[in-house]
Amino acid sequence: MFDLTGKTALVTGASGGIGGAIATALHNAGATVGLSGTRVEPLEALAAQLGDRVHVLPCNLSDAEAVTALPKQAIEAMGSLDILVNNAGITRDNLFMRMSDDEWSSVLDVNLTSTMRLCKGAIRGMMKARWGRIINISSVVGATGNPGQANYAASKAGMVGMSKSIAYEVASRGITVNCVAPGFIATAMTDKLNDDQKGAILGQIPAGRMGEAEEIAAAVLYLSSKEAAYVTGATLHVNGGMAML
């Protein structure tokens, strides 16, 4: 439905369930994709599965220099960078009163500060091209909060405010900046939950099921498309009705 032929996309956290699905969806729509993540093996495996138009660009997002270099590497590999998907994220959950400075700052660094650096690096070329799409993967938790996740929720809410501000600044240059906020998505992480935990979660979701990674990828694909040119500064909630925002 959406055609990204000739476009180039960089997806961080592409070794994870959601990131892999996003990279696959953009690739299936015709884009050349750069797969970034810390673990090289799953990136190579996904690259082998996708075939051509794929570049593996490993990066440790807690390393500021490596993050700053990543957009340049992506442009060298693919010739341009039209679509940036900031999907990588980490959690270090703890009760707020027990949360250490390190637990706080490591989550903020990887989830929010690296997103800022990647946006900065990508926008330069997008401004010249007068076309660009940035999609930041936030979370329902950024809007609702969640016990034990003050750091994670702050980083995800921070993404939304930052995205809106950047969206204002670059809208006149044909660049859109949006967020996708997933709810509970079936991934390796949620597979580990027991039946009681799953039951409690599902009770909060009107759709009565967890979401699929492909359903997040579909939202990202739309926001990457030329059809979504008039959508900017928005947060698209994909959560089965868990929070209607």
Binding site: R124, M127, K128, E169, V170, S172, R173
Partner: protein, 77 residues
């Protein structure tokens, strides 16, 4: 007129769509040539590329006029 001036003027004329004779030494990008703040960022990016130089953010903020730009670029080369 120097070669640097010619090249800077060409970038300004192309980017801001102004008449060449408006681009004089004292012409302010924002006040006289109709640039917005993002245009000035883009102009600096274009100067960096054209002349193969790095213009740090604090220096970029001091480049307000055509004359400022020419002076900075000549100093940086």
């Amino acid at each position: 007129m120097s070669e640097v001036e010619d090249r800077v003027r060409k970038i300004v004329v192309e980017h801001l769509g102004v008449e060449e004779d408006k681009v004089v030494e004292s012409a302010s990008f924002i006040d006289d040539l109709g640039a917005d703040s993002l245009d000035t960022v883009e102009l600096v990016m274009a100067f960096e590329e054209e002349f193969g130089i790095e213009i740090p953010d604090d220096a970029a903020e001091t480049i307000q006029t055509f004359g400022d730009a020419v002076k900075f670029i000549k100093g940086a080369q």
